[in-house]
Symmetry: C2
Subunit: 191 residues, 2 copies
Amino acid sequence: MKELISKLKNNIDLSPEAEEYLHSISSNREVSKGEVLIREGQTVRYTYFVTDGCLRSFCIDKNGRQHTLQFAIKEWWISDFIAIYNNELATLTVESITDSKVIEFKAMDLANIFTKYSEFEAFQRGNLERHVVSLQKRILNQLQLTAAERYDLFLQQYPDIESYTPNYHIASYLGITQQSLSRIRKEKANA
Amino acid sequence: MKELISKLKNNIDLSPEAEEYLHSISSNREVSKGEVLIREGQTVRYTYFVTDGCLRSFCIDKNGRQHTLQFAIKEWWISDFIAIYNNELATLTVESITDSKVIEFKAMDLANIFTKYSEFEAFQRGNLERHVVSLQKRILNQLQLTAAERYDLFLQQYPDIESYTPNYHIASYLGITQQSLSRIRKEKANA
């Protein structure tokens, strides 16, 4: 929690009351590899800030195939924001793909922070704007880049992810088959 | 502008000063079919609120192919938000695909509204949250749905767009070739 508080203090004028509030709505949690924190169809009660390890959010299509929306490494937030922002049940599943450490925030209390402590508004606006940019870029990349180019960008964003993530997670993020991913890797190795 | 002001008043407690500010940073503009409002490589000075017609934003890849990020119909906003939020030159082009009417806002002055009139913060947070949701859903749909399923969803979102948009715009939004789009349409017509 210390790291998150000091990160916040770099960006906003955090009052002692707001800091106390953050402590009151959160708890440190260790999660094991494979543990599911949010399950499709359930109410989303928590938002997670990753302090160690890696989590992933994904949906499962009607044929049982998984499609990865996000990987969250150290200092990233993860939850089912579609469910939280739309006030719906989860359509995503969030699981830990390594042994991880997270700060677990009550999602509803976190949403109330903006009315309680308005200093968070401008900060959150910046966060959401950056999120919009990264999602728009991902859509444009999906439209215009080859699978091999998207794989290169992915490795730039998550440099050592291949050491702890199975191939099918990465393929399911890039929107390609595991066979295509293997072929791309072979071509890179031989290039 | 009246429509936009009344829409805002449904959502926020708009002070006369804030309303006056909105008028001072905007102007009504009629744009012709094919007119380019933002061009890749240039500084993005304006954000547009569509009051009639349809605009589109797209990027151009290294082979000269266009890829459509967004169509904006009545009551939608459009600009190059990647450029605005990252303070970069435009990577997108915004053009009007019909004769249209827009309200043109100075982008920098619009960004300053949140510090001048804090009542816009919570409203904008809601807008950005909904934008994140729609972009995440588009990514998930791109990963998990067939092209025909994505085309059906597209027509639900933009019911009469086919009457004024060339096929290659729609294909370039769905990430498919024009030939695939023609095939999907034929199969729907024969179904």
